[in-house]
């Protein structure tokens, strides 16, 4: 049972990157200086996240977050922080739409042209589409990010 191959059945959704990011997120910190912040709250399952954004002339310089929740939501926040760094706000918004489709349907072949590379990075989360009630775990940090970019204080996830 200690042979990692015996976890094949578990690993198709919880890929190594998710486990790893869920356990040791790289961007899980409050930014000292930031331009925007917002909270996301999913009262149905108790997931909670706050994101901080530092901007640099229309682009995202850095994202930090604090999250309480499942591995999926923490990993998703961490991957999000990484993929949106140095991206324009406009690109980030299309990336969100593309990611949302990925999370809901498991694929997004034609969406967000020009965003193939970050989409690749987010691909490990595609498996959540099989669990409609967990899609919101993956999208909650993104909703908070969008809320922050739109100047709102709070986002609530899709039901």
């Amino acid at each position: 049972m200690t042979d990692s191959d015996s976890f094949d059945d578990l690993r198709d959704l919880y890929q190594e990157v998710i486990l790893d990011r869920g356990r040791k997120p790289r961007h899980a910190r409050r930014l000292e200086t930031f331009d925007a912040t917002a909270k996301g709250d999913n009262p149905m399952c108790g997931d909670r996240v706050q994101v901080w954004i530092a901007l640099d002339t229309g682009s995202i310089a850095r994202v930090g977050f604090e999250a309480r929740g499942c591995a999926i939501s923490v990993a998703s926040a961490d991957l999000m922080a990484e993929t949106v760094q140095h991206r324009t706000v406009a690109d980030t918004k299309s990336l969100f739409e593309a990611f949302r489709t990925l999370a809901r349907t498991g694929a997004c072949p034609d969406c967000a042209p020009g965003l193939a590379e970050p989409m690749e990075q987010l691909a490990p989360l595609a498996g959540v589409h099989e669990y409609p009630s967990r899609v919101k775990c993956a999208t909650l940090p993104w909703h908070a990010l969008m809320a922050a970019l739109d100047g709102a204080k709070e986002a609530s996830s899709e039901r």
Binding site: M44, S133, R134
Partner: protein
């Protein structure tokens, strides 16, 4: 005659094959079921969908993180999509599931009536309502000081439009709650005009579509109404599920009706917050199997198509009115121009209960009584009528059987 040449024609023999119950015999006689307005029979597709759920894919829904729960949630929520499409709702979140039409109207009477209407305002119903669209408003009147007004019905059994408009004139009516089709007279109310007039006087409109949606294509956006309710078991679906459609902005303004699981966003003893519409109105474990059955019923009806259904019932109704006119001493109650496949009548020599029982002994099921519309009965000076009502599986032969059966009853009572 090739039935295929008419695109709207309905192959009634094929349809009958979809309803297992229709092969039953009653006291050795083939069942002639003319009580569909009370509740319709169920096609195999509905039975199968419910059985398949129970045999292969069932769990409680919403927030279940396991396969059975996710799949059951999808199957149940597909009913919401189907209902939204059926009624041409703007958004699936405008579909609220209830236990039946009665539950939907009570929800509205509590939530809109007590939560949005103000004492001093009025609710306007008509003289041809089903008790389910009378009593909840009476209870609102008696509890909350909302006036209850009754739009008059003409001798032909139609809505008296002038009388209706007059009752709206003073601008006090906040809500018109009116049947779209009478379950006694078969009268179809001129819904668009009803809405235009109400809106012109600042009133919202709810239609009780319990009967109408079985016979006519309902497009809530074309009707331009504000609420529309109906009940699954009359549209060939299971019992235990009904539908309240409401405009999203109105639903959002309404406080919840029942409290409990599934309708909350978060709960603390001090205060709780509500889920978004439609879930705010759906407390507790929903009628999951019934939603799945209802989805199958809607699909079934959509496959046949309202054009074919409406045409079929119109031709049956015409035939029935002609055949019944030939029964001496028979009086049809209600002569509306626009009518659906529901016909009430009395016989001079026999009480309607005796008529129903004697028809039953010939295998023919009709309803007799006040049809949950006592005030309407009184309006026509009656205690009860017998009522024959038609569905997609009803044949001309069955109507002939009814007419022949009535001739025998009359002779028997001579």
């Amino acid at each position: 005659m090739n039935i295929m040449t008419n695109p709207a024609a309905l192959d009634v023999e094929r349809i009958r094959g979809d309803f297992p119950i229709l092969t039953q015999t009653i006291r050795g006689k083939p069942l002639v079921f003319l009580d569909s307005a009370a509740s319709a029979q169920k096609p195999r597709a509905v039975i199968d969908a419910m059985v398949q759920a129970m045999e292969t894919q069932y769990a409680n829904i919403h927030r279940g993180l396991h396969w059975m729960s996710e799949r059951t949630t999808e199957a149940y929520e597909a009913a919401r999509d189907a209902a939204a499409t059926l009624m041409n709702a703007n958004d699936r979140s405008e579909i609220v599931f209830t236990g039946n039409s009665t539950g939907a109207i009570n929800l509205l009477a509590h939530s809109y009536g007590r939560g949005v209407l103000k004492p001093g305002q009025a609710v306007l119903i008509s003289g041809m309502e089903h008790h389910s669209n009378i009593v909840p408003w009476q209870m609102l009147r008696d509890a909350n000081g909302i006036e209850l007004r009754i739009a008059p019905v003409t001798d032909a059994g139609e809505l008296d439009i002038a009388g209706y408009e007059a009752l709206l004139e003073d601008g006090k009516v906040g809500l018109v709650a009116i049947t779209h089709m009478s379950n006694v007279l078969g009268t179809v109310v001129p819904a668009e005009r009803v809405v235009q007039i109400a809106h012109a006087h600042g009133a919202k409109v709810m239609f009780d579509g319990s009967q109408a949606i079985v016979h006519r294509k309902v497009d809530v956006q074309a009707l331009d109404c504000d609420f529309y309710v109906w009940t699954g078991h009359k549209l060939y679906g299971p019992t235990g599920i009904g539908v309240l459609w409401g405009r999203r902005d109105l639903l959002e303004r309404m406080p919840p009706f029942m409290g409990g699981g599934d309708m909350i966003s978060s709960v603390a003893f001090e205060q709780s917050t509500w889920a978004a519409v439609p879930h705010k109105f759906e407390a507790g474990t929903p009628a999951i199997l019934e939603g799945i059955g209802l989805k199958a019923a809607i699909d079934y009806v959509q496959t046949i198509g309202y054009d074919a259904m409406t045409a079929h019932e119109a031709s049956l109704t015409e035939h029935a009115l002609a055949r019944l006119a030939a029964v001496e001493g028979l009086r049809v109650v209600g002569q509306a121009q626009d009518r659906g496949g529901v016909i009430s009548f009395t016989l001079d020599k026999a009480h309607s209960h005796d008529v129903a029982t004697l028809l039953d002994r010939q295998g023919i099921a009709v309803r007799a009584g006040h049809h949950c519309a006592e005030p309407l009965m009184r309006r026509f000076g009656l205690d009860s009528t017998a009522r024959a009502s038609f569905g997609i599986y009803t044949t001309r032969g069955e109507i002939d059987a009814l007419a022949d059966g009535l001739l025998r009853v009359r002779e028997f009572f001579q």
